[in-house]
């Protein structure tokens, strides 16, 4: 069997680009944050390999949140939007065929989750989750409704800005990432303690999707663009061979 080239170790995570584990503004993090330093090591096979998901697992409406909960019977209520973008790595390479999953509140700010008791009503035609695989260029698309802002128990009167949760795999378990997409122009972003866990302003701006009129469809939906960057790999001609790969 042909030997696969060693793609190199994962580029070590630049922790300054991420929130700290402990952030008193986000109260729940206070008791759920490790106190001791993380153990830093170069990645190995356990981090450089990862699961793959075949197209056979997916349903035709999986990336259409307007229709997937009702199985196409009736559309969800709300402002119709296309969420689209690319998944790339730190070196700028596209990440093709990777799983992108999203979940969100409905247009009133209510999640279809047994623990969410917010007084905004459930929409009988909105489930709130979607998933897709990126194409060969790393592109993905979801059709959904714009989620509402909602209050949450933290300080006396905290509200989450409109946001969509995003989970991405990449090709290596060490690339695993969960983040949130915010919307251009939302005044609640700068008041949100969860958004504020990101201390680097450019990094927070990197989670705010701009309105993208070029991709919006007249008389149908607006579009927002959200690119996602995953960890890359250091490929030099001076790496040792990774046995078994």
């Amino acid at each position: 069997m042909a030997e696969l080239a060693d793609l190199g170790p994962l580029i070590p995570r630049n922790r300054e680009m991420h929130p700290d584990a402990f952030d008193p503004g986000y109260k729940t993090s206070v008791t759920r944050s490790p106190h001791w330093p993380l153990l830093s090591l170069e990645s190995g096979p356990s981090e450089e390999t990862g699961p793959t998901f075949g197209h056979s697992k997916f349903g035709a409406l999986d990336n259409n949140l307007i229709l997937n909960w009702s199985k196409g019977a009736a559309p969800a209520i709300g402002e119709r939007i296309l969420m689209h973008g690319r998944v790339i790595d730190e070196t700028g390479r596209a990440v093709p065929n990777t799983l992108v999953e999203i979940w969100q509140a409905n247009a009133g700010g209510r999640y279809r989750h047994k623990k969410d008791g917010y007084l905004a009503p459930l929409d009988p035609n909105f489930g709130g989750c979607g998933r897709t695989l990126t194409d060969e260029q790393g592109r993905y698309q979801f059709l959904t409704v714009r989620p509402g802002a909602y209050p949450w128990p933290n300080r006396g009167n905290d509200w989450r800005p409109m946001h969509i949760h995003v989970s991405v795999f990449g090709h290596s378990f060490g690339q695993r990432l969960i983040t949130q997409m915010y919307f251009e122009g939302d005044p609640l972003i700068d008041r949100c303690p969860i958004a504020a866990t990101i201390k680097n302003r450019a990094q927070l701006d990197g989670l705010v999707a701009p309105l993208d009129m070029a991709m919006s469809r007249p008389l149908d939906f607006l579009a927002y663009k959200f690119d996602i960057v995953l960890r890359g790999r250091r490929q030099t001609m001076f790496e040792n061979k990774l046995e078994g790969m």
């Binding site: 106190h35 096979p45 356990s46 390999t49 990862g50 699961p51 989750c129 990197g206 960890r231």
Partner: protein, 199 residues
């Protein structure tokens, strides 16, 4: 001025929040039927070669309270230490599992095949282990750690060897509670805090 580096910073992590289950484990969240096939239902299929084991445990916060909302993912090779996708891998091992703390008790259970030792770059030999990734409300970036096994030879493992405070090694070692059964608790903070990885 200098030349520009062609590096894009990794997207910033954000907490998975309290409702992560509706996106990643819809049935657990009470939304069965959202997808026909959910992701990561089991790391093995019937007929996987090797010893079938069950690992249970809890994720515990800095006050000693067990989380009811933690979501975990595991990734591992087959019984011979070969990862899915690599030549010779056991076709019955997908290697990836998603599981959650029970909403009442906080207990999680992972049923899988015991992994074999793994050889890495430069011939490094890792003792059998399962990689874990833990997210929940209040966790701002997914926590990485590993499950090793009490009944394996962990003495030469290069990761465990890097832990200076030797008693902390025990936080990464699942304790055998019966034939094919192990206990592995994850302590997020404080006394007995689990060793988390930046890897």
């Amino acid at each position: 001025m200098v030349q520009k580096l062609d590096i894009f910073p990794e997207s910033a992590s954000q907490t998975a929040g309290p409702y992560v289950h509706i996106g990643l484990m819809p049935t657990y969240a009470g939304n069965a039927g959202a997808y026909e096939h959910e992701i990561g239902e089991s790391p093995i299929n019937e007929g996987a070669v090797g010893e079938i084991i069950e690992i249970t445990g809890e994720v515990i916060d800095g006050t000693g309270w067990t989380l009811r909302d933690a979501l975990l993912e595991s990734w591992q090779p087959d019984a011979k230490g070969i990862f899915p996708g690599q030549p010779g891998a056991d076709p019955k091992v997908s290697g990836h599992c998603r599981f959650a703390a029970d909403a009442e008790s906080g207990r999680y259970t992972l049923r899988t095949v015991k992994p074999g030792p793994v050889t890495g770059r430069g011939g490094q030999r890792f003792a059998p282990h399962i990689s874990l990734w833990i997210v929940a409300r209040g966790i701002n970036i997914g926590l990485q750690t590993r499950i090793y096994f009490e009944d394996e030879d962990n003495s030469k493992d290069p990761l465990l060897a890097r832990i200076e405070q030797r008693p902390r090694v025990q936080t990464l070692i699942a304790k055998k509670t019966g034939p094919g059964r192990y206990r592995f608790d994850i302590r997020l903070q404080g006394e007995g805090e689990t060793v988390f990885l930046d890897i």
